[in-house]
């Protein structure tokens, strides 16, 4: 029932991928792998950054058709900067998620992309929203998506705790992504993480040789 971003169903270059976003005490961490592929056969890029900044403290990550995702996020960035001028304050995370949702819902026939939006705003602090393939918008404490996410549902269900510290959350996100990248052949490369708090949005990269290893590696 969850949107499956299997690379084989998407025409052209897809980010058959693993993405996630997790709320912790004082911020959110949004993360992804870095592989872009055509079907399961050819890796177009090993170092794609799937974390798009749509505003100072709001990031989103993309799964599905790379072209669709780029077009939608470009549109969303424009609408959000316009909105922040009109409102004379930074946009709410929910507003950013809503803009993406509207675009996904109105164009559901043509588009094949889903989004995770995460960020920090003054009204509600750290938040995570998912916009699914058809345009459903849901707020959650954490969320996973992309083709590789199927393999880590059990892991995140078991290991997530509300109100984690920043270090615990980084470890949780890194482990989950590494596990998914280990099992999904269209996810891989390096791990991109962005840690968003009231003060700043910090980009952290975990290169391939520093990925956590598990029992059989």
């Amino acid at each position: 029932e969850h949107p499956k971003m299997s690379g084989s169903q998407v025409k052209g270059v897809s980010t058959g991928t693993t993405i996630l976003a997790v709320k912790y005490r004082g911020g959110v961490i949004i993360g992804s792998d870095s592989r872009a592929s055509i079907g399961g056969d050819y890796v177009v890029s090993k170092v794609v950054n799937k974390l798009i900044q749509v505003h100072d403290r709001i990031f989103c990550c993309i799964a599905g058709s790379l072209a669709d995702a780029q077009a939608v996020t470009k549109m969303a960035k424009f609408q959000l900067s316009f909105l922040s001028i009109q409102m004379e304050s930074p946009p709410l995370v929910k507003a950013a998620a809503s803009v993406l949702k509207e675009l996904c819902y109105r164009n559901k026939e043509e588009l094949q992309a889903g989004f995770i939006t995460a960020g920090w705003d003054k009204k509600k602090g750290p938040q995570v929203y998912t916009v699914s393939l058809g345009g459903m918008l849901v707020s959650q404490p954490f969320t996973i998506a992309g083709s590789g996410s199927t393999y880590i549902y059990g892991y995140v269900d078991a290991k997530y705790k509300p109100d984690m510290s920043r270090e615990e959350c980084m470890q949780f996100a890194t482990n989950a992504l590494a596990l998914a990248m280990g099992r999904d052949n269209v996810s891989g490369g390096i791990i991109h993480l962005v840690v968003i708090t009231e003060d700043k949005a910090e980009h952290v990269i975990v290169p391939g040789n520093k990925l956590p290893k598990f029992h059989d590696e």
Partner: protein, 217 residues
């Protein structure tokens, strides 16, 4: 396009044990576990089916895929193992049981669609787990299978450790089953767990309300 049928789907759809099965070796034996849901499309045809079949006193197999195919394979191997152990004059090896399952899987791979995980204890090799998917024979420290297994790859990769005790292995199996049953629509019901060691096979049924719960339950 709405498909209208005068008959409910479950009358015409094949009965599958869309399932979660898992087996793990520990020092001195194995633990093998499964859920209990049998579905035909959207209907749950049997919510308490024990998918752990006896192949011999200390050798069990876990069934997944088409219910009819899996049951038939297990019965055939049970018979063949009985004959074999009488000829040899002692308890059969786990590898022998697995080889019999593999032979049927491989020979009839076009006609059958069932996957059996074979696990047990014998004097020569101690506790062993064998995977027989599509006619391959491979011994592994632990194995998962069935539709629900996709969701727990990350969990079992992260949590499995070599040299777990009997109790830790049982917890590992029950946790993995509970997580998979929580996410897979075709897995559910109760968890059946069989622990096999030198002294014999101990069967346990963990009821729905006794299963471990996780952060959102």
């Amino acid at each position: 396009m709405l498909e209208e049928s005068l008959q409910p789907g479950w009358l015409s759809e094949e009965v599958k044990t869309g399932t979660t099965i898992i087996a793990v070796e520990f020092e001195g034996g194995v633990v093998i576990g499964s859920d209990s849901r049998v579905s035909a499309g959207a209907a749950v045809v049997n919510r308490v089916m024990n998918k752990l079949s006896v192949l011999h006193d200390k050798i069990y197999c876990a069934l997944s895929g088409s219910a009819a195919d899996a049951q038939t394979m297990a019965e055939a191997v049970n018979y063949q193992l009985d004959v074999h152990s009488m000829e040899v004059g002692e308890d059969p090896l786990v590898r022998s049981a697995a080889t019999l399952v593999k032979s049927i899987s491989y020979k009839y791979k076009e006609e059958l669609s069932a996957h059996l995980i074979v696990a047990g204890w014998d004097r020569r090799g101690g506790g062993q787990v064998y995977v027989t998917l599509e006619g391959l024979l491979c011994r592994q420290p632990f194995a998962i299978g069935g539709s629900g297994s996709s969701y727990i790859y990350g969990f079992v990769d992260a949590e499995y450790r070599k040299g777990m005790s009997r109790k830790e292995s049982q917890e590992f199996v029950v946790n993995a089953l509970a997580l998979a049953m929580g996410r897979d629509g075709s897995s559910g019901g109760v968890a059946y767990v069989v622990t096999i060691d030198q002294t014999g096979a101990e069967e346990k049924c963990v009821l729905g309300n006794e299963l471990p719960t996780f952060f959102d339950e």
